[in-house]
Structure formats: C-alpha cells, structure tokens
C-alpha cells in the first residue's frame, strides 16, 4: 500500500508510515536484518536529553522559498529557530548571487487566554496582516504542540483565506509531540507543497529535481554532461518553480532521510522517476548511483565514460590518502542515511569504523525499493559495523561510548555533538556542506580534511585539559545502553 496520500491534511508520521525507530543497539548488519524481516522493535529510554522536533524541520525546508511567508501558529518560543534559518538563507543568497533579503516569518504568539478560547482568530489576523505587509506568492502555516492540543481548525482557516486572498495559504501540520522522529517534519513540509503548490505537468523538461538543503552546486557540471539541468529544491526555490517540479525528468535525493516522501510523491502522483540506488558515496556506491542515473535519463554510454574518466582521475590520489589513513580508527554520529553514506565513504578510505550513533532508522523508504538502502549497501560492500547505536541525539550515550572506544577521530554530521569528542581530546570533524562527500571527488575531499584534522591535535588536547565534564563518574562506568529498553512509551496511537 502506498504511503502517499495527498487527500489527507496531515502526513502519516514515520513510525507508522515506514516503521522507523529511534532506539537500537547491536551491529549495522543486525539492524538491516531486523528491518528486512519485519522484526524491528523500537526501544525507548527512561532517561533522555532534548532532541529536535518536526516543526523545526518543516520550517527548515519552507523558510527559504524566496517569495513565500511562513507563519508559525504557536507560542513565541516555537519561533526560536527563525533567525537561525534566516542566517542560513542569507548566506545562501550570497553564494547564489541573489539580492539580500530577509526571511519573512511571523509568530501568532499564542498566549494563555488563547488556550481557553482557541487561537483561530489570531491566526486569521496574522495571515491577513502578513499578506498585506509582504504580498507573497504563498503563505505556509506551521503548527505547534499548543495549537495541536487546542484542536485549532488550521486547515479550515487556510482553505477559507486561500479563496479570499487568491494565493495558496497552506497548512503544514508538524506538531512536535506527534512524532519521535524529527525528520517527519521534512515529510510534513513536502506533503503541504505537493498538496497545495505543485501543479500537474503540462510538458516534460530537461530539469532534474535535486532534493537538498543548501549545499554547494555539484550537480550542474555532472548533469550538463548528460544534457540536463539541476533544479535545487526546496530552499532557494520560488513558488512558481515549485509548481513545475512535476515536469522534471527525474528526482535526485541527496539523502533519502530528507527526501523520501517528496521523491516518492512526485513519482507516484506525477510520474517523475526517482533515482533509486545506494547514495553516491564510496566507489561502489557512486558506480551504482551513476549507472542508475544513466538508466533513468537514458544516458548509459555517457555515464560509463564519466565513471571511467573520474576513476582514472582520482585513483592515484586516493591510493596516496589510503596509505596515510591506514589503521586509523573513527566513530560516526549523524542523521540516518547520511550516516550510512559516511560509513561507506570512511571505509573506502581505509579507516576502521569502530561504531556509529545514528539518529533514527528507516527500515524502508517511501519508494519501498530495497535498492535505496544505503546501510545495507555499506554492510554488503565493506562488512559489518560494530557498536551501531540508533540514538536520537542522546549525548550522554555518545560520551559514554566515545570514552570507551577512544577513536583516532570522530566524524559528526549534526550540530551539538562535536564538543563531546573534543572534550575527551578526540579530534573531531564536522562538515557542514552535505555535498562535500558526494561521488568520487567526495572521497578526496573528505580524506584531505580528515588528514588535516588528525594532524591538528593541539586545540583538542588543550581543550580537554581545561574542560569540565557534566556527566557523573558513575555514568561513565555504566553500560552505555543502561537506560535503553522496554517499550512502555513507544506505542503509537
């Protein structure tokens, strides 16, 4: 049964849609095995630290649509992430040579009295005022725990005002408490875009949708060789551009954790084929991904030429790096599919991956194609990974494990985790640009930065000497999974 249903106002959460989980200890191979056999059980933690929520992730994707306004229907604290994304938006404008513009974001500022009588009127006022002030091409309304519990009829208001104002006013349901997997918020944003913005195709174009955050432009050159153009979505697109993504020749996801829903929705509703392959990380992953791309775009010959030329170009340098990295150990913490991709990349470089703390696990994606399972690919290609922990940003588990494992380097792909490596004196690397490790060149990019990080131990050594540790001695001596277990809190309603 398809997981895509654009009739429903709300997207189904990942726990229900994909059977995703946030707690697991074992090996990567065991996790893949459990997922395949339908034996994946979530574990909850009796002690936990703060995570992220869906509303932040929905905002992340919607907030950089150039001519849209975003209204968060919640107390003012829920708007705490406005400026962070405004900053990202503005840095991206510089890189893309766009004129300087500020993100137009509003909070309805739900207060105590609203929780008794509802805040629908406030929402209506805010939408109208924002429309008058900005004259956007669309307005998205993201919801909050408060508006969700109050039961405000958000879709009722947005539908009504869509008619009155003559632009799409789009409800995006992303209450934090609804899902334990914050990437559900990406699905919420995409669901609202597919439901209310995207139009049926009138023609086919030579555009390829790239579902991404705001990474560097690496696809123009690649696709040009194949006679296609990238269309980076959703950040930095316009409403008009989003209306037409149904006309693209294909969809590439830089990471299925991000784009699973949108990729599948565009394929299932509008027939835009999705590139279903392991991610282009490591040699074999890149081979497979490029070949699938060639197949979908019917450019197999050209792709084979690219593969040949690229390999010839990078292999000598790669061998040089492998020799230098031989025997080095590392530990990874990252979001799901990108973390799996990094496992492949690091092992291709010859590093020993001693374990990973990966934020959640989707046993299958919305396209239901096992070929897209990057973890499965990594395990099959490079062997199993021990100490594989599915752990939604629980720093206390990470610190405990790092303190035992003591790798030569920690590789992180999410803010807030690097400090724990550094405090223990472990050189730590976070790459912000999500396209940095992509394809053959990505191997060289990462290798260079890893060598640089391994070489630069002065900072972490000194920091470790002078930092405090907020975790008790008792805790550091316990099994890292002491608080993980039982399924008391994981029943999904």
């Amino acid at each position: 049964m398809s997981t895509i249903n654009i009739e429903a106002p709300e997207v189904m959460i990942r726990e229900l849609r994909l059977g995703s989980i946030t707690g697991f200890e074992g090996t990567a191979g065991q996790l893949v095995q459990c997922g395949r056999s339908g034996n994946l059980h979530d574990c909850s933690r009796t002690f936990s630290q703060c995570m992220g929520c869906s509303s932040g992730k929905a905002f992340c994707q919607l907030s950089m649509i150039q001519d849209a306004v975003i209204i968060n229907h919640g107390p003012v604290g829920c708007a705490g992430d406005f400026f962070v994304f405004n900053f990202v938006y503005r840095v991206g404008q510089m890189e893309r040579k766009l004129p300087s513009a500020i993100g137009r974001y509003f909070s309805t500022n739900i207060e105590e009295k609203d929780t008794i009588f509802g805040a629908i009127k406030k929402l209506e006022e805010t939408i109208c005022a924002a429309y008058e002030r900005v004259h956007p091409k669309a307005i998205f309304v993201t919801t909050s725990c408060a508006s969700g519990i109050m039961g405000d009829d958000v879709e009722g208001v947005t539908d009504k005002l869509t008619k009155e104002l003559g632009i799409p006013i789009v409800a995006c349901f992303c209450e934090g408490f609804k899902s334990k997997i914050w990437t559900t918020g990406f699905d919420s944003a995409y669901h609202s875009i597919v439901r209310k913005i995207v139009k049926p195709p009138e023609k086919k174009t030579n555009k390829v949708n790239i579902i991404n955050f705001w990474g560097s432009d690496i696809f123009t050159e690649l696709l040009a060789k194949l006679g296609y153009e990238p269309d980076y979505i959703v950040p930095f697109s316009t409403v008009k551009q989003l209306e037409k993504i149904s006309e693209a020749a294909a969809t590439i996801q830089i990471c299925p954790t991000l784009g699973t829903y949108l990729g599948a929705a565009l394929e299932q509703i509008y027939g835009v084929p999705e590139i279903k392959a392991p991610l282009a990380y490591g040699i074999k992953g890149t081979d497979a991904w490029l070949r699938e791309l060639g197949k979908v775009l019917t450019k197999q010959t050209e792709v084979e030429e690219i593969i040949k030329a690229e390999k010839e170009r990078i292999v000598p340098k790669l061998e040089e790096y492998r020799a230098k990295l031989k025997g080095k150990t590392c530990y990874i913490t990252a979001g799901a599919a990108h973390g799996h991709a990094l496992i492949a990349l690091l092992r291709e470089l010859g590093l020993e991956v001693q374990g990973a703390a990966i934020f959640h696990h989707d046993p299958v994606y919305d396209n239901e194609d096992p070929g897209s399972d990057m973890l499965d690919h990594a395990v099959k290609t490079y062997g199993d990974v021990p100490n594989f922990n599915v752990c939604n940003k629980q720093a206390y588990e990470l610190v405990n494990i790092l303190n035992r494992v003591r790798p030569d380097i920690m590789i992180a792909r999410h803010g807030g985790m690097t400090l724990w490596g550094a405090k223990l004196g472990i050189p730590t690397l976070l790459i912000g640009d999500e396209h940095f490790g992509f394809a053959y060149q990505g191997l060289l990019n990462y290798a260079e930065r890893i060598l640089e990080t391994l070489d630069n131990t002065e900072f972490v050594t000194n920091l470790a000497k002078h930092s405090t540790m907020p975790y008790t001695k008792w805790w550091l001596e316990q099994d890292p999974y002491t608080f993980l277990g039982g399924d008391k809190h994981v029943k999904v309603y």
Binding site: D81, E175, G176, K180, G416
Partner: protein
C-alpha cells in the same frame, strides 16, 4: 491590538531554562515537547556551557504523554538526571504539553525533594508568559524550594552583603560581562556582592546566602522587581531599584551614589573609588573627543533603539549625554506589562536636562522596521537593535550595533556594556563599526 510578532526577539516562558543554565553547576530538566529546548538555544543560547544545549535532560513528550499524562516519564527522567548529570541543583521546567494536559509536576518533584534531592520545579508552559516574566518565576522558585530549605542562619544579616538582580541571562546577550562589571564597581564602594549567575558568581553556595543580604539591588526597568518584592516579604530584605542599565561615567556614578545613600555606606570610601573610576573613564573620553569632533567623513548623529526597556533607557541616556548622539525612534520590544509602561515613558521624557523623547512599545519587529523606513531622514544614524536589522541598516545607511537577541552576527564572550568599562566598550564597538564602513 493584534499581538502577532514578525521577527521575534525573545522566547517563551520556557526560555527561562537559560536562567538555570547560567547558574554554576545547575541543570534544567525540561518536561516538554522534543524541540523546545533546542529552539530556545537557537535564539538565546551561547553554546553548551556546563550542562546546557544538548546536555539538557528532557522528557521529549510524545503522543503517549499527551493522551495518558507524562508524570511517569518525568519521574524516570528526573531519576536518570540525578544519576547521570553531575550537578548541584536540578530545576524541572514544564512546557506547553505538560501544562495543557495538566500533569501534577509538583507531586512528582515532591517525592524527590522529600528525599533530600536538590530539586526545584516551576510551571513554565510556553504560552503562559515570556522569558522576561518567567525568569522571575524561576528565581523565586529556587529561593522558595531550595534556598529557604537549605540556607543556614537565615535571620542573621551579613553587613555589606547584597544580592544583585540585574540582567536576564542569555536574553541579555551581554549578561556575563555586565554582571562582572556590576560586581566590580559595587565591590569598589565596599560591598560584598552576590551576582548569582555566571563566571564571577559562587554557584549554589552563593545562592544559599541570599536571605542574609543587607539589601537587594535590582537594576532593570521591571524584570526582577517580583524577585526583590518577594524577598522583602520573605526575609524583610529592603531593595533599591535602579530602572535601567547604568552605562558610562555619569550614570554609573549616579547609580553608585544612589546605592551609597540607600545602604548608608561609607561615603568617603565610595567617593574615592568613584573619583578614581571617573578619572580613568574621562581620560579615555578626552583622548577620543577630537576624533568625535573632527572626523570629516561622517559619524552617526542620531540613533534608533529597538531594545528592551532596561537597555533602551540606559543606552539612550549614555549616547545623548556623553556622546552627543541624538535620539530618533525609540522602540521597546519586550511586551512590557502596562503597569510598568508609564515609568519607562517618564524616563524618556527626562532623557536629559534639555530633551524629552517619545517611546513606542511594540513587539512586532516588522512593524517597527516599516515605521523607521517610512520616517527616516537622510542623516547618518546608528541603530541599536538585533540581527534582524541588517538590511534595514543598509537601506537607510545606518550603522548597526547589535545589542538585542538575535545576535548571530556577533560572538559574545565576556563583553558587557554596564558601568564605566561597559561605556568605553560601547564607544569602541560603535566607532569600530562606523570606521569599518570605509574602504
């Protein structure tokens, strides 16, 4: 009046988690949805600190806790926090989910409190207020549920000991620097000073001496008043209220002399300190006066403030009286309760001996920016505002000094604008920005 906000500049009630993070070796335990804590840090956090940021324990309330209540989950997370996090004080803070569902958090925490754990709870459901209000609630709760219980010799006042309630940690990006300077100058006139937050405080041991202070000082337009009134009732501690941040020579000396009067302190000692400080301060002003008078390529001659009241009054007085920059639009952004608005208007009415200025209370940054755009004349101006003002400043050819949250274009460590040193720092920062506009 509509109350929506474009460009928020403060957090919700739960934002007071940063009040706890600012206490040495204290940790908040957040009983709320999964993203709350993270979003607060995104707006006002300044890194992990000891046990802030990603270290903050949280119940990450899910559908289960909404349907069946979250008390069990909270009990587990508190028990875990006491074992896993090495802290002197644990403060349970609730979010919207818990307060709307009606969890009996008092009952849950009581069990731990009764067994002697240093644990406090406060209901800070986001919708209840903002962090300007809830900061006071959290401080009062710590006093009532922890300090009062564990403090010794509460009735014996210590001569010369005072508590200072001056800034809201993290909501004031320069809180730590400000407290360091306030402590320095108050010690200079002979007092022993509890600042309670930040690097120069003594952690929980210092909090335990709160009841023994000879008097309290609140340096703020209105936040903090609830705390000192509460302490007056509870421990009969009198308080002195100075309604804005003293910046520079004039106001800092005035502030100190007021404190001397209030506390009946040794005037000679205080005057020696003040004279010495003023001499240093004005020697720098003198050094820079020719620059300010002569620099031919243009310096800002008017200023806008888009700040909370405590900063707005403090900077307005300083810029006008000591740097000769004239006030243009003055906007107060912290959702000032009506009962405090008149006193703030009055401060602006008497901003100098010669000048009276209007002030606008408005939480909607988008509206403020529209007004400034519409009314701006061609003079080069200075904006004291937040990161949201970047484009506005460029458009109206203004220099922007970021004082208010969000501060993302600045990295803040121990910078502060309070006192004599803060006044000098303000001059350096303002003219750094001005001079940096030239190629």
């Amino acid at each position: 009046m509509s109350k929506f906000i474009e460009q928020p500049r403060y957090s919700c009630a739960l934002g007071a988690q940063q009040t706890v993070v600012a206490i040495k070796r204290a940790v908040p335990i957040v009983h709320a949805g999964p993203g709350c804590s993270d979003k607060i840090c995104a707006l006002i956090g300044q890194g992990e600190g000891y046990a802030g940021g990603n270290t903050i324990p949280c119940t990450n309330s899910s559908e289960t806790e909404i349907v069946f209540g979250g008390e069990d989950k909270l009990r587990g997370v508190i028990a875990g926090s006491l074992k896993v996090i090495d802290a002197d004080l644990y403060v349970v803070l609730t979010g919207c989910t818990s307060d709307m569902v009606g969890d009996d958090v008092g009952q849950v925490t009581k069990g731990f409190q009764n067994s002697g754990k240093p644990l406090v709870y406060v209901e800070t459901g986001g919708f209840k207020s903002n962090n300007y209000v809830s900061h006071d609630e959290v401080v009062k709760a710590i006093i009532d549920q922890y300090v009062d219980k564990y403090a010794k010799q509460k009735e014996e006042k210590i001569s010369g000991l005072i508590n200072v309630f001056a800034t809201i940690p993290y909501q004031d990006p320069y809180w730590n620097g400000n407290l360091v300077e306030l402590k320095r100058i108050l010690e200079g006139i002979g007092l022993t000073v509890n600042v309670l937050f930040g690097t120069d405080s003594g952690g929980i041991q210092e909090w335990l001496t709160i009841p023994r202070a000879q008097f309290n000082i609140v340096i703020s337009a209105w936040p903090g008043l609830e705390i000192v009134k509460h302490l007056q009732e509870k421990y009969e501690t009198p308080y002195f209220h100075f309604p804005y941040l003293p910046i520079g020579g004039l106001e800092t000396s005035k502030f100190l002399r007021n404190v001397v009067d209030f506390g009946k302190l040794d005037e000679t000692k205080a005057e020696t300190f003040i004279t010495n400080e003023e001499e240093k301060f004005y020697s720098f002003i003198e050094r820079t006066a020719d620059f300010m008078l002569e620099f031919r390529y243009g310096l800002p001659r008017t200023f806008y403030t888009i700040l909370d009241a405590t900063y707005a009054i403090g900077f307005a007085k300083y810029l006008l009286n000591e740097l000769g920059i004239l006030p243009a639009g003055q906007y107060i952004i912290e959702d000032t309760p009506e009962i405090y608005q008149e006193a703030i208007r009055e401060q602006f009415r008497n901003i100098s001996e010669l000048r009276s200025v209007d002030v606008t209370f408005c939480i909607d940054g988008g509206k403020i920016q529209e007004e400034i755009r519409a009314n701006h004349n061609k003079n080069r101006s200075l904006i004291l505002g937040s990161g949201w003002e970047r484009d506005l400043a460029k458009e109206i050819n203004a220099d922007l000094l970021i004082i208010s949250v969000p501060v993302n274009y600045r990295l803040v460590l121990n910078c502060g604008y309070a006192g004599y040193n803060g006044g000098l720092r303000a001059i350096e920062d303002i003219y750094d920005i001005v001079l940096n506009t030239y190629r």
